[in-house]
Symmetry: C2
DNA sequence: GCCAACTCTGGACAGTCGTCAAGAGTTTCC
DNA sequence: GGAAACTCTTGACGACTGTCCAGAGTTGGC
């Protein structure tokens, strides 16, 4: 009797878990369609119907999986986080010398500028949107904090390999590289072919300046 | 006869000029209402009716003075330029030593962060919008170029006073200070009281790093 | 095979958007 | 003072928005 009940409950749990998984999976799928749409059109011009059209479902389904538009967009932001805050971790782990890290980091930034430009402009769009709208602010700031960590990871390891102390606070290091990247993105999307190459050339120079001369 | 005609034409010109002036004046007035609205709500949520409500006119008048929304917004961007690209000129002109320039520049950045935060967030919003919409791009890039010039003006003068060469290209110098300012703006608008003070502390450190050690 | 739960569609809703035009109000000129 | 030009208001239009819902379609357990 007890065993039967337990078995039943285990079964129900398994089913329920499977259903929850499926539910979450579809949410993720729809959020991905939303992110594609946002990257293409920008926050200001992305509508639920447009998002649905970039998926294989009709617009009504969005309200089955998300309470409202804010809920969907919040989910998008959180899902977006995962791809954008671990970008350079492997490079840091692999590098054996300061020169190697410097070269690979610069190359990786230039590469993602070229390959993921539309996603990057979406990130800056959402971050800016959070300056006007309370709703995403907490999530956006959390992502920005983790991006700061990601950059700091690179800078600190670079300093370690170069046997020199880092010479600027962590938020400043992030601000400098973020500014550099954003300017490159601006140029790149405006059609400047050389933007990525310039970025690749500028990154080592900035890297050298955030650690103490030694 | 000839004189009469000339007098007539001069009169007509004067009248026409006066009318044009008045026309342009009203355009400027409406554009200012639009800028106030944009700074408050952001690009995504600013409508023509909302702009009109922030002015002393009705929404129909906007189409009397502007061809369409893009025309209005373009005018806004251009009008916006004038207040945001000459901000530090006087400080540069007045400074007699590198230390003085460093101190005043940092203080001015912190001051405008505190006083004009909503206008600054509008600038970043519009600049980002230009990554999605062709229509403003040219004007936005032109403003960005002039902002770069403005920062370069500061940096070059600082180097001159410090008797040391500038050590980074002009676009990089701009990118670094822009990134620094944008991060401070993010924190400031998120409610961090210390953001402006931190910015004021960080600016001299970056300034010192963009000129060669000497 | 049946019933219940889950999933998805498509249309309706109230509201807002940019745009436009008819006409009232005002100014300007002869 | 009357005609002409300029300025502004008001209301309407079609399109689009987020949201909701009735019901069709599908799946899964018994």
């Amino acid at each position: 009797m007890v065993q039967v009940t337990e078995a039943k409950e285990r079964t129900r749990d398994r089913i329920s878990r499977r259903q929850i998984d499926k539910f979450e999976q579809r949410r993720a799928q729809l959020a991905e369609s939303a992110l594609r749409t946002l990257a293409e059109l920008g926050y200001a011009r992305t509508s639920l119907r447009e998002i649905a059209q970039n998926s294989e479902f009709s617009h009504g389904v969005l309200h089955y999986y998300f309470a409202d538009k804010v809920d969907l967009l919040t989910h998008c932001v959180r899902q977006f986080e995962e791809v954008c805050v671990t970008r350079y971790d492997e490079i840091v782990a692999r590098a054996r010398t300061a020169e190697e890290l410097e070269r690979d980091f610069a190359a990786a930034m230039a590469a993602t500028l070229r390959a993921d430009a539309k996603m990057h402009r979406l990130w800056y769009d959402l971050r800016n949107q959070s300056l006007f709208e309370e709703s995403f602010r907490a999530d956006v700031l959390e992502i920005d904090r983790r991006r700061e960590e990601m950059i700091w990871h690179v800078v600190a390891r670079y300093a370690e390999l170069a046997a020199a102390p880092v010479d600027v606070p962590r938020p400043v290091a992030y601000a400098l590289f973020d500014g550099l990247f954003q300017q490159a993105l601006l140029r790149h999307l405006a059609g400047a072919e050389e933007a990525a190459a310039e970025l690749e050339r500028n990154v080592p120079a900035v890297l050298a300046r955030v650690v103490a001369a030694g």
